[in-house]
């Protein structure tokens, strides 16, 4: 193309260091007026960092940011907002106990002040802001109830609130950091519609995602980052998934997992009409029944917040179920404490690795003994046998190729992927009957993902039952032998991997299919 479209936002030579990490390394990036510019890159590539720089949250160590050609200093997001930049963060930036209105007005409040310079103690004008919110949501088809408390809203709606929040601040540049990560395909499509409405109204959008299909679908331009650098750009019309993937990782990636057909044996995990309440006391799992057989992988698909988390916590004993029961290898373990369930043969790769899986302050060695410290060989009687703990650590670090200088550094100092490897090593090295893997590869780069997927399949082939809980459709599809879809706390259907497709699952996850 010969005509140079108006560049509305530009980053020149941005470099940003964090202790031990070069998050952005002389990055150049620009955004044209009214376009959707996709930013691709594996985890830790530096995408969010770059966006946080553009949004004034991080000060770059080097480089400049230009808005409509003129250079400017962004000391805080306040400045960015002033220049019409809005951002929807990867992790939502909403105060759960506030109402939608309060969240939207926060930092840009309107109150009954006579003059703007007087003390900010006048009463907030909630009504007026609420009205503005209604207008905006009509204008862009973003339905939100201004008076709802954010904590009670679904992630999809929360995301709308975030967008309205940006529009309320008259943003004409919108940064969306992994907005689709938590959405059903349908919700995602809805989002894409909104994005186009916005671009039609002259808003320019930076769109960050890991999902190559989406990129090819909505983006006008694509830029790819790796290890803090921009490694290339692509035109969606001329590119395809394979190309983008290789560009992202820097080598040929096998996007599919090789595995031979499963040889299922006896029923290992039997769940019968299980009901579980969530933190807020609402019933999150509503009478779920299913079976996982030895030697097969059952994939539990579903959008976050449909009860998978609670179900997994119930099965690992972290959460007590209201009613129903479940058994592993024939032992009824309903309502039993975690230790008893572990001893019955459960290997639990928890969803939240830093909250449940690890004690970040402990050494890798201690973390590797976290679940077995109390019996032989790690302790005789009440006395811990440190040498045994250390020996075990050295072996597992070797076997599971955990990248660490020594077994004695704190787990918190490891990168996400290596932290996950520590957990996988600990759990899979035990004699187990059932592996419960919740979001096992979340936040990991492709290398780590490949490795962990291999481990899971290996367990399956050794005749262990595997229950894989994941929000990543691709992960479910590539690992599972059978797939159960969870929606609103119930299992909508259980299908054989062979008899289903991405699209069908997407619909099921979205709840289309159930008698209205």
């Amino acid at each position: 193309m010969t005509d140079t479209p108006a560049i509305i936002l530009e980053a020149k030579g941005i470099t940003k260091k964090f202790p031990g990490v070069l998050a952005n390394d002389n990055v150049n990036f620009d955004l044209h007026k009214g376009e959707i510019h996709a930013l691709l890159g594996e985890n830790g590539a530096g995408k969010s960092t770059l966006m946080n720089v553009l949004y004034g949250l991080y000060k770059p160590d080097e480089g400049d940011v230009l808005v409509e050609g003129n250079q400017m200093v962004l000391n805080s997001s306040r400045d960015a907002i002033k220049h019409g930049i809005g951002m929807v963060h990867q992790h939502f930036m909403l105060v759960p106990v506030f109402t939608v209105t309060e969240n939207i007005m926060l930092g840009a409040e309107t109150d009954h002040r006579a003059a703007p310079n007087e003390l900010p103690l006048a009463k907030l004008d909630r009504a007026e802001v609420a009205q503005k919110v209604r207008d905006l949501s009509h204008q862009y088809g973003l339905e939100v109830d201004p008076n709802a408390v954010v904590g009670d809203l679904s992630v999809g709606v929360q995301q709308r609130v975030e967008i309205v929040k940006a529009l309320y601040r008259k943003a004409n540049i919108l940064i969306l950091d992994e907005p689709t990560a938590v959405l059903t395909p349908q919700e995602a499509d809805d989002l894409f519609r909104i994005m186009h409405e916005l671009t039609d109204k002259g808003v320019s959008i930076v769109f960050i995602t890991h999902k190559l299909k989406e990129v090819l679908k909505v983006a006008d331009r694509i830029t790819v980052m790796r290890a803090g650098r921009v490694v290339g750009s692509a035109n969606p019309k001329e590119s395809n998934e394979q190309k983008l993937a290789s560009l992202m990782v820097g080598r040929e990636v096998i996007l599919t997992v090789q595995k031979k057909p499963a040889e299922p044996k006896e029923d290992m995990l039997v769940v019968n009409d299980l009901r579980v309440k969530d933190v807020r006391g609402l019933e999150a799992v509503r009478g779920v029944s299913f079976i996982v057989r030895a030697g097969e992988v059952l994939g539990l698909a579903g959008v976050q917040g449909n009860g998978q988390t609670e179900l997994a916590e119930a099965l690992s004993g972290l959460r007590v179920s209201e009613s129903g029961q479940f058994s592993i290898g024939g032992h009824n373990l309903t309502g039993k404490p975690p230790r008893q369930i572990t001893e019955a043969g459960l290997a639990d790769i928890p969803e939240d690795r830093q909250r449940h899986g690890l004690v970040l302050g402990y050494t890798i060695a201690d973390n590797l003994a976290l679940c077995d410290y109390y019996h032989m060989p790690f302790s005789k009687g009440v006395v811990i046998q440190q040498n045994q703990v250390d020996a075990n650590a050295r072996k597992l670090i070797e076997d599971y190729d955990v990248r660490t200088p020594s077994p004695y550094i704190a787990a918190g100092k490891l990168s996400g992927g290596n932290q996950q490897k520590v957990i996988v090593a600990r759990e899979l090295s035990r004699p187990v009957k059932l592996v419960l893997a919740s979001q096992p590869t979340r936040g990991l780069d492709v290398g780590s993902i490949e490795y962990i997927h291999k481990q899971i399949i290996a367990m399956r082939d050794r005749g262990v039952a595997v229950l894989l809980v994941s929000a990543e459709l691709d992960e479910i599809l590539s690992l599972s032998d059978r797939i159960a879809v969870m929606y609103r706390g119930e299992i909508v259907t259980t299908v054989d991997r062979k008899d289903t497709s991405r699209e069908q699952l997407g619909l099921l996850m979205a709840g289309v299919h159930e008698p209205a």
Partner: protein, 371 residues
């Protein structure tokens, strides 16, 4: 608002008062007992209320403050010291000296608040440790200076503690003047009753301002831009940051405000209640304030209600001893101030068990903010 909690508190206060009336009526007219107890309750609750408000502002902004005790103690001392200097050294009239004393108390509170802020916000010291440092420092500092200022070499007072210029006078609310005409000439009892009721409202300036401040604070926290931002910073600082609110500044500001409240509480002891300073004179009331804050679920009005419970139960203690003579034998144990003295502490623990609604602190309370 949390009616269950307030109902519970109301019941407790009624019971405490009822108990004393039941015992004391043999010796005193119930109305007089009640008004007297009310007056005591309000007065005793004053420093607790202000202390609790101090906690509310700090913790709503996400900074745990167990240093209230130390802040109060230091403020009580320096306020008193300033008053004495103004009066004796610079020879200002009483009124000015006292007022300056009160101001100094508040400033001292803010300085202690500043210290807490620097420790816990800037240096990210564990906030409980920061508070402990403040408490210990205050004891040492006041004890040392209390001696040095008067008995030290070259002290302007040559080894004697001069008299403080005095204390704030009670403000008379002219209820009697207004209402007594309604009684008609021939009913002295009626006038006496009105006077008794009037007595409840004749409080001293800090006591009255404490009550006003409770409602002002409540309004500010829940209905103004300042309050919205303060609470945002205490609930989800990163979210506040992303909309351009300076988390650090907000926290500093609120901890300073908290310090000012603690300072006013300190002023109550030496500028309003009694015109003398004693080492450790706060006697752990700072910690009770903390309990009141939690008891009141981090809301100013709730904290005030809680403080009133503590006030009421010490009113009970005092009156039970006053009416000792007429306590019926089967209630003799009530004379044991040791036993009566336990009531507020046990109540607090009951509240903390969450039987009367769970208390929920701000989500980011006690968590230093890392970008």
């Amino acid at each position: 608002m949390d009616w269950k909690r307030f109902g519970f508190i109301a019941i407790i206060i009624v019971v405490l008062f009822g108990g004393v009336v039941a015992v004391g009526q043999a010796q005193q007219r119930p109305l007089l007992i009640v008004t007297s107890m009310l007056a005591t309750t309000i007065a005793v609750a004053t420093p607790l209320t202000l202390g609790a408000l101090s906690g509310v502002f700090c913790e709503r902004a996400g900074v745990v403050n167990i240093g209230i005790e130390g802040m109060m103690l230091a403020s009580a001392f320096f306020g008193w010291l300033a008053a004495i200097y103004m009066f004796h050294v610079f020879e200002y009239p009483t009124g000015i000296s006292i007022t300056v004393g009160a101001l100094f108390a508040i400033i001292t509170g803010m300085l202690m608040g500043l210290l807490h802020a620097v420790l816990s916000i800037t240096f990210k010291v564990d906030q409980i440790i920061g508070g402990t440092v403040i408490n210990i420092l205050a004891v040492g500092l006041t004890g040392f200076l209390n001696r040095q200022m008067f008995f030290g070499k070259g002290s302007v007072f040559e080894g004697s503690i001069p008299n403080s210029p005095g204390i704030l006078p009670a403000i008379h609310v002219p209820i009697t003047e207004i209402l007594s005409p309604l009684c008609g000439a021939n009913s002295p009892l009626c006038i006496e009753n009105i006077a008794a009721i009037n007595r409840v409202f004749d409080q001293k300036p800090i006591a009255l301002s404490a009550i006003i401040l409770v409602f002002v604070s409540h309004y500010v926290l829940f209905n103004t831009r300042w309050g919205l931002r303060t609470r945002a910073v205490g609930e989800h600082p990163k979210a506040a940051d992303t909309v351009g609110i300076n988390v650090i500044k907000m926290r500093y500001a609120n901890v300073l405000i908290g310090g000012a409240f603690a300072g006013l509480a300190g002023a109550y002891f030496t500028i309003e209640s009694v015109p003398s300073f004693e080492p450790l004179l706060t006697n752990g009331r700072g910690f009770i304030s903390l309990a009141a804050m939690i008891f009141g679920n981090w809301t100013p009005i709730g904290a005030w209600a809680a403080a009133l419970v503590f006030g009421a139960s010490s009113a009970l203690q005092i009156n039970m001893q006053i009416f000792r003579a007429v306590i019926p034998p089967h209630l003799a144990f009530l004379q044991q101030s040791y036993i009566v003295g336990l009531i507020p502490y046990i109540l607090t623990m009951i509240i903390l068990t969450g039987i009367i609604g769970k208390t929920t602190p701000p989500a980011a309370d006690g968590v230093p903010y890392e970008k």
